[in-house]
Structure formats: structure tokens, C-alpha cells
């Protein structure tokens, strides 16, 4: 790792690029930018940034296509920052390999938090078996989940769901992805099963299940695990 992580911003709006440059460099990131999809691809290949912020509405090529092209070789986090807020568009971007998305207009604080989480996650790729989130610890070797040092009893399905979310913490997992991973392809439309298990899991791991702080709902899209 170099001293400072580089972030590449691919967005055709000059004002947005300027704004991001100011707020990101203020937080110690090096910022590079491109106004077109093609320019972005070139920058990404030469700079190897730690993270890419990608707009979906680019002048030369659809952002979803750029995203797919990038994902052929680029494995670090990509965050979508777009005015397109249709759920289908967001789900497609996540399925195409985006780690996260934010819709414009956005709050810089929120964006910075997402960037931090994504970079930390990608650097944490070591195969460590124990994850801790505040009072919660998940030991994947011994199949043990503890909240404030107290052992929590989970069913096999609840545990599988928790592990999937924890291993992808900071990342938005779509309903379809989770359903496929836990129950298999034929259950991909059965969102209600997932909701039931999420509610059960929240009762066990959250301090206040009505206001969850770990297992966060991304409405209409999926779930994200984080602090």
C-alpha cells in the first residue's frame, strides 16, 4: 500500500468532479478523474486506483457497460454515484459487480463513510475467521456468535445468512443474491422467506431489533451488514 489510497472519479459533470475532488482530498485521498467512460477505463488501467466512483449516465457509453468492462479485470471496490434511482437500475448495477451505490443528490458524509467501509473491506481480504462488529463477534471456525460475550443460539439457516452478510460486510447484497446463496436458484423470488429470517436474526443479534444497527435494509434492493 502506498501512503494514500487513490480514488478515480468517472463522472461527466464538472461540478460533481470538482466537489468530489475537494471533499475527498480534504480527507487525505488522492483523486483522479475522467469525464467519459473510455477515459475512465484508461485511467483505471494506468493508475490502479483503490476505489472507483462511477456515474451511470456517461456521454459515450452506458455506465452499466463500463461497469461490466471494468469488472473483467478490476477487483477493487466500485461505488455507483448516479441520479438514476430506479430500483431495477440499482439492482442491475449491483449484479454487474458494483459494491455499493448512492443516488445524487448525496451527502458527502454518507459517501465518505461508504468509501471508508469499502476500502477497509477490500484490504481486509485476508481469510481471517473471526469478525467483530462492536459488541458482536462471529467466529466462523467454531461456529460461534457472541453478543457482549454472551453466546447466541442460531439455527443453521440464520447462521448461514449471518455468515454471508458478514463476509460481505459493507456491501449491498441483493435479495436475489442472498436467496440464491442460502436456499438455491428455485427460491430467488421468495423474498418473504428472507424477510422472516432477517427479522428472526435481528431479534437475536441487534440491541434494538426495531432499529437495527448491524443488519441494514436497503429498501427494495437488499441488505447490507455494517456498523
Amino acid at each position: 500500500m502506498n501512503d494514500q489510497p487513490t480514488i478515480l472519479v468517472i463522472d461527466d459533470e464538472l461540478q460533481i468532479r470538482r466537489l468530489l475532488e475537494i471533499s475527498l482530498s480534504a480527507k487525505g485521498y488522492k483523486v483522479a478523474h475522467a469525464a467519459t467512460g473510455q477515459g475512465g477505463m484508461v485511467e483505471a488501467a494506468t493508475l490502479h486506483p483503490s476505489l472507483i466512483i462511477l456515474d451511470l449516465g456517461l456521454p459515450d457509453n452506458d455506465g452499466q457497460v463500463i461497469l461490466q468492462d471494468l469488472r473483467r479485470w478490476y477487483s477493487k471496490p466500485i461505488i455507483i454515484l448516479s441520479v438514476r434511482n430506479a430500483e431495477t437500475e440499482i439492482i442491475q448495477a449491483l449484479d454487474n459487480g458494483a459494491n455499493d451505490y448512492l443516488t445524487k443528490p448525496f451527502r458527502s458524509g454518507e459517501l465518505l463513510a461508504r468509501i471508508r467501509a469499502a476500502i477497509r473491506l477490500s484490504e481486509q481480504q485476508s481469510d481471517q475467521p473471526i469478525f467483530t462488529f462492536g459488541p458482536l463477534s462471529i467466529d466462523m471456525v467454531n461456529h460461534m456468535v457472541k453478543k457482549s460475550d454472551e453466546l447466541i443460539k442460531l439455527t443453521a439457516t440464520e447462521y448461514a445468512l449471518l455468515c454471508l452478510l458478514v463476509k460481505n460486510s459493507g456491501r449491498v447484497l441483493t435479495h436475489q443474491f442472498i436467496l440464491k446463496e442460502i436456499w438455491g436458484y428455485s427460491y430467488m423470488e421468495q423474498t418473504q422467506y428472507l424477510r422472516v429470517y432477517v427479522a428472526q436474526l435481528r431479534k437475536k443479534i441487534e440491541q434494538d431489533p426495531a432499529r437495527p444497527s448491524f443488519l441494514i435494509t436497503e429498501s427494495g434492493i437488499g441488505y447490507r451488514f455494517g456498523e
Binding site: H143, Y187, T191, A199, T217
Partner: protein, 514 residues
Amino acid sequence: MTKKSTIEKWLSRPIYSYLLAAGSVLLCVILSFHLAYSQSYHLVAFILLLLVSFLSTFLSTGPILLASTLSAITWNFFFIPPNKTFHIERTDDLLIFVLFFAIAVINGIFTSRVRMQKDLVRQRENRTNALLELTKALSGAGTIEDILKVATFQIASQFRTSPLFLLMDLDGNLNLPELPHHNGETALLSWVLKHNTRAGRHTPHFPESAYTYLPLYGNKIKPGILRLEQPQAFDADQAQLWEAFLVQIGNALERESLNLLARKAKFLDESDRLYKTLFNSISHEFRIPVATIMGASDTLLNGQYSPPMQSELFHEILTASVRLNRLIENLLNMSRLESGQLALRPDWHDINDLFNKVTSELKTELENNRVNTLIAESMPLVRMDFGLMEQVIYNLLLNATQYTPKGTTINLEATHANNQMILRVHDYGPGFASKDLLNAFNKFFRIKNSQTGGLGLGLSIVKGFVEAHGGTITLENHKQGGACFTISIPSENPNMENMPVNDDEIQRDNTSKI
């Protein structure tokens, strides 16, 4: 029926009816020879009179005259002595012969005339019935298409021809259907329109044309032209009925066209009003936050201010931009509703998620109120479009924060009964004036002297989105004070029957592991 009509048809050919008249008289004469010899030849006269009377019930005047004359002559020739001569010897026989002839003729002609009059009445009755039927059917037709359908059907059944209607559109241009046009048809049509006179086949104008073109008349407007394929000109009776048909159809078309015009005018008027309101309020509503942003940032750029003052200005900018964003969001939602392109994406959701999402989004606005979230213990998952319902609760809650005094409580409730999800947003503010209760969901409705900005779209969006879910929303002032919005949306319980359950616990025994 069919048998009678074939006989009638047969009789309508004059040659056959004359043959029948002559034949039956001759047959009767032959059959009467025996009677004349055994009884009296006067009897034969009565039989022949009876025959002529009988024939006159269904034959026309010509054949009856033939039958009368023929029977008089044959009676004289064969039966009045001396036989086989036309000579009549006795005076009383001569008198009887003359009387016979007179009675036969008068009887025959009168009977057939009475019959003809009856036929005439029947024809008139048929015409009246046809016209009545047309009028009835036309009065039941609610649209131009219905009127054309009815008219085409009635014309086809009365005149055995299928008409083509060429109608004027609302702008007064003739609508020509995609048909292979005959040479000069367009010119002919414009001639008919210009002169308001019929033209084409069987008329003095353009008689070489394949069709007859008739202008349709209304009282005020000319609804269009009727094109008729009419191989033979109508006879007098048909023509009379046809004129009546044209008047009825023309009037019906005029009535509906005028209706359409009135509706169009009303719609234009309404959309013009909407357009004006929208633009007035948009420019006003946008200017305020934009002015705030411009003013605050300009101030920050051009002066040295203490950090607390700077922070205050930054907050003003943020608040103004949030307000701008909300305006855009509401305008977009409104246009989604208005365009009718609102595609619902329903899925199973936890009401808890919905309430959480909205309250966390409105965290700043809710600082001065206490939100009480009450979700029924047994609340099942609910099938809904999360994004739309989020907007619904967001708008209701935001309204509540804007119109209630600081420190009051807002209740956010969710229950489930009879396959209905019931959501309630209940505040403890001043509530609505009773006349506003009715209008609150109208587009651009604002409470008089409202202190807060806004386009007055929020509640109409709420209503639209709830209705898109097949639900209803009601507003009332609660007994305990404050406004209370109640949403109910049909919602079955989710199907959990096929859910694979694996309830094995992951830790067999925690002590053995550690």
C-alpha cells in the same frame, strides 16, 4: 312464413296472377256444368261470384277485372239459354247478367282496394317501426363508434346496403379512412361539403360515380358525409324512410360531436389552469431556496465571519438544497402519477423497515416532535411497493412536522385486520378546518395562510400512490385532537408453506467447544 312469401312473390308477377284468375274461372265453369243441368244455371252465377270475391282477397284490380269479365261472358255463353251463344232471350236473364257483371266488378275492385289500403298501412307501420328501432338504438349509443355501428346495422337491415360514414373531426376536417379512393372521389366529397347537396349515382350531380354521397345534417353542425352503395334508386316509400333515417343519424352524430367538443373545451380549460398554477407555484417555490443558497454562499465568499456564523450559513444552504430536492422529488412523482406510467413493483416487506427508513430520513425535521411507532405484535409481512409507500409515509410525516407545534407527539401505527393493512399517521396539532378535510387531497391544495412552503402536491401524491396499491386513504380530525390519516391497503398473508426450514442449532454444546 317463407311459404307465404314465396306465394306472394309468385303472385307479384302480373302474368301469373292473370293466368290464375282466368284459369280458376274456367275450372269453375267446367266443374259447374253438372250442377247447371241438375239444379239451375242461376246457381252457377252465385258460384262464380263467390270465386271472384275469393280471388279479390289476394289479387290486384287487373286480374279481378279479367276474372269478372270472363265469368260473365262464360256464364252467358255456356249457361244462359240459348246455350253456346251470347244471345240472351229472356229479359230477366239479361237483367241478372248485367247485375252479375256489376256485382262481380264492384265487389272485386272494392275488396282489392281495401286490401291495398291495409297493405299500405302495414308498410307505413313497418317504416314507423324501423324508424322507432333506429331512434331507440341511437339514443342508447354513447359514443360516435356506437352510433356508427347502430346506424350501419339498421341501414343494412332496412335497405340491404352497407353505408360508409366519413365524419368531420373536432377541427372541422373530413376524416378520410384508409380506403382505395376512386378517381375524383376527393373532389366529389369536397363538392358535397361545399354545396351541402347530395351527389353521385342516382342524383343530378356526378351521376357517373359508383356511389351516392349524402351530406349528414344536424341542427348546428354538419357531422359528415354518408357514402352509399346503391345499385337501384329507392322507390318512393323507401326514399321517405331513408330521409327520416338520415335526419335521425345526423342528429345523433351531431349530439355526440357537440358532447366531445364540450368535453375537449373543458379539458383544455382545466389543463390550462393546472399549467398556470404549476408554473406560478414552481417558480415561487424554487426561487426561495435558490435565493437562500445564492445569498448565503455569496455572503460566505465575500466576508470574514466567525465560525458559528459561517456554520449557520452553511446550514441554511443545506436546508435550502434539501427543500429543493424535495420539490423535484414531488414533481417527478406527480408526473409519474399523471403520465399513468406508474408501474408497481410489489414485494414482501417488513413494516418496521418502512417506518425506520422514513423516520431516519426525516431525523432533522423530527427533532422537535416525538414519534411513537406502534406496530401490532402479530403484524405479518406486507406486499407493497416499498419506494412508493416510503414516499407516502414520508409526505404524511413531513406534513405532520410542519403543521404541528413543537414538542407534540406524532403516532405512527400499523395494524392488520381482514386482509387489510392499516397504517395510521396521527398528530396532535390543530387538525384541519372542516372544509379543508374534503379538499386536502386535491392537487395544489394549500391551507390558507400556510407558513410552510410547498406546491400542495404532497397529499395528492400520497393519495395517488395509495390508490395505485388498490387502497384507500381517509382524513379526519381525531377525537383527542389533531389530524389522523388512515391508509388501508389490501394485503394477504404471505405464503410460507414451502419454506425450507432448518432449525438445527449450530452449537451442539457450547462448553465442549470452548
